[in-house]
Amino acid sequence: MAVAAPRPMSAEEKKVIFASSLGTVFEWYDFYLYGSLAAIIAKQFFSGLDEGSAFIFALLAFAAGFIVRPFGALVFGRLGDMIGRKYTFLVTILIMGLSTFIVGILPNYASIGAAAPVILIALRMLQGLALGGEYGGAATYVAEHSPQGKRGAYTAWIQTTATLGLFLSLMVILGTRTLIGEEAFADWGWRVPFLVSILLLAVSVYIRLSMNESPAFTKMKAEGKTSKAPLSEAFGQWKNLKIVILALIGLTAGQAVVWYSGQFYALFFLTQALKVDGPTANIMVAISLVIGTPFFIVFGSLSDKIGRKPIILAGCFLAAVTYFPVFTALTKAANPDLAAAQAAAKVTVTADPAECSFQFNPTGTKKFTSSCDIAKQKLASASVSYDNVVAPAGTPAVIKVGETEVLTVVTPEDIAAAKESAEKKLADLNAAETKDAKAIGAATASVKALSGEKTAKDAVFSGKLSAALKAAGYPAKADMAKFDKVTVVIILTYLVLLVTMVYGPIAAMLVEMFPTRIRYTSMSLPYHIGNGWFGGLLPTTAFAIVAQTGNMYNGLWYPIIIAGATVVIGGLFVSETKDVDIYAND
C-alpha cells in the first residue's frame, strides 16, 4: 500500500476537518446543555403534568436518547450512501440546529399547557434523529478527504469536540447566569444558550455549503456504482453484517464504557459516592480534560504508525485491569474519612430476599418501595459498604450500623417525636441572638418534611440512618482540608488518557472497516448502539449493582466486563485496518 509522502495539512483539508467538527461541537454543546439545564427544563415544561402523563413523557425522553439515535443512524446513513455525504450532512446539522434554536423560543407549560412538553419531546426526537447521522457523516467525510496513512490523525480532531462542546456550554450558561442573575436565568435566561446556537448553526451551514462532495463518493456516483439499497446491503448480507457486529462488540462497546467511565462516571463517583462538592469536582474534571484532550490527536496520529487495534484494545485492557485500584485510590485521595469508615464500621442489611429487587431503572419510571429496596437505596446513596443477611419471609428490612439498629418501619409515634424535636430546634434557632440562616433553612425544611404525609416516614428513617452513620464515622461531605487535589487530578487525567486511547483512533478504524458504497450506514449504527446503549446504560446499571451487592466499587464491574469482552473479541476477530485501501472495492 502506497503511503502519502509526509506533507503539512492542506488548506482544503483543514477546512474539511473544521466544517465536520463544527457539527460534532454542536452535538456535544447540546448534550451538555440538556444535562446542565435539566432541572430548569423539567420545571418549565413538565412540572404541571399528572403522574400518568409524566410517566409517558419519561419513556419518550428515554426513547429520544436510546432508540431514536440508532434509528437516525439508519435513516441518514442510508441517505448519505445514496445521495451523498455533503447534502446529508447539511440536512442533519440544519435539523439539529433548528431544533435546538426552537427550544429557546418554545412557550412553556404555563403558557400553552400540555402542548409545550409534546413539542419539546418532538424536538428532542428530531434532534436525536439528526444526531444519529451526524457523527458517521463527519467521520466518513473527513476520512474520505484524508491521504492514506493520515486518516487516524485527521479524524482524531473530531473527537476533541467533546471537550470543546463542554467548555462552550459552560461559558454560555455560566456567563449568562452571572450576567443576569440566578432568578432571571431560571425564569427566562435559560433560553439564551439555546438561542445562541443559531450563530453556531449559521457558521456551520455557511461553511458546509462551500464544501465539495467527498472525492470517493463523487467518483462512485459518476461511475454509477452507488448502492441502491444500503440498508439491505449493510445488514442483510452476512458478510457485512458480521463486520457490523464485530465493530459493535469488538470495538465500540468497549470504547463507550471506557469513555463513560473516564469522564461521566468519574464525575458522578466524585460527587455522589465520595461526596465532594460539585464545583470542586467540576474543576478537577475540567483540568484533567484540558490535559488529556491533546492526546486524542496523539493517539490518532500514533494509530497511523502502529495500528488502530493495539491502541484501542490496550485502552480497554488497561481500563479493565486498573479501574478497581484507580477508583480505590480516588477515594483515598478525595475522601479519606469515607475510606476509613468503610474499613472500620461493619454495616449489614437483614432482609427477606423476596423483598429485594435488582434496582435497574433505565427509564426512571419504576418505583422501588419495599423496605429492603429503600434500605439499600439509602445505603448505596450514602456510599456505605454493607453485607446482606437473610431474614425470614415477611420480615421488614433492618439496617445494623455497628451495634446500632435502624428499623425501616416508622411508627406515627416516631414521626411525632421527630417532629417535636425538629420544631424545638427551629424555635431555638429563631430565638437565638445571632441568626444562622443556613441552619434555619435546614430546620424549616426538616419540619416541612416531617409534616408532609408522603415525606414524613422517609425523613424519620433517613434522619435515624444519617445519625447512626455519622456516629460510625461516615462523613456527610468530603472534608476539603483532607482533599488531595494533585493526586485527584493525576488519577482523573489517567482516566481521560484511557478515553483518548480508545476514542482517538475509533473513527478511522470504523471508516476503514466498510466499503465506500455502504460506509456511512454501516459505521453509524455500531457507533450509536455502542455509545448510546452500552455507554448510556452505565450509570443506571452501575447503581443497581452497587445497591444489590453493598459495595460502592462493584458498579465498575459493568465497564470492566464490557471492556474485557471487547479486548477478547476485538483481539481475536477484528482485523487491523490502518493499511486498508478504503477505495479498493469502489
Binding site: F62, L170, I287, A459
Partner: protein
C-alpha cells in the same frame, strides 16, 4: 499547529476561570430518565437536619 494549541489553551483557561467563578453546574451531560433517579435524594437535606436535631 501552534496557533491551535494556543487557541485551545486560551479557550480552556477561560472556561476553567468561568467555571471557578460561576458556581455549581451539572457537567454530567444529558440524562435519559433513569440516571436522574440516582443523584442525591431531595429529602437528603431535611434528613440531615432531622438527624442533627436529635
Amino acid at each position: 499547529m501552534w496557533k491551535i494549541a494556543v487557541g485551545f489553551a486560551v479557550f480552556a483557561a477561560l472556561a476553567i476561570y468561568i467555571l471557578s467563578q460561576g458556581g455549581d453546574i451539572d457537567m454530567g451531560g444529558e440524562k435519559h430518565g433513569g440516571d436522574a433517579a440516582h443523584t442525591e435524594s431531595p429529602t437528603a437535606a431535611p434528613a440531615q437536619a432531622t438527624s442533627e436535631a436529635k
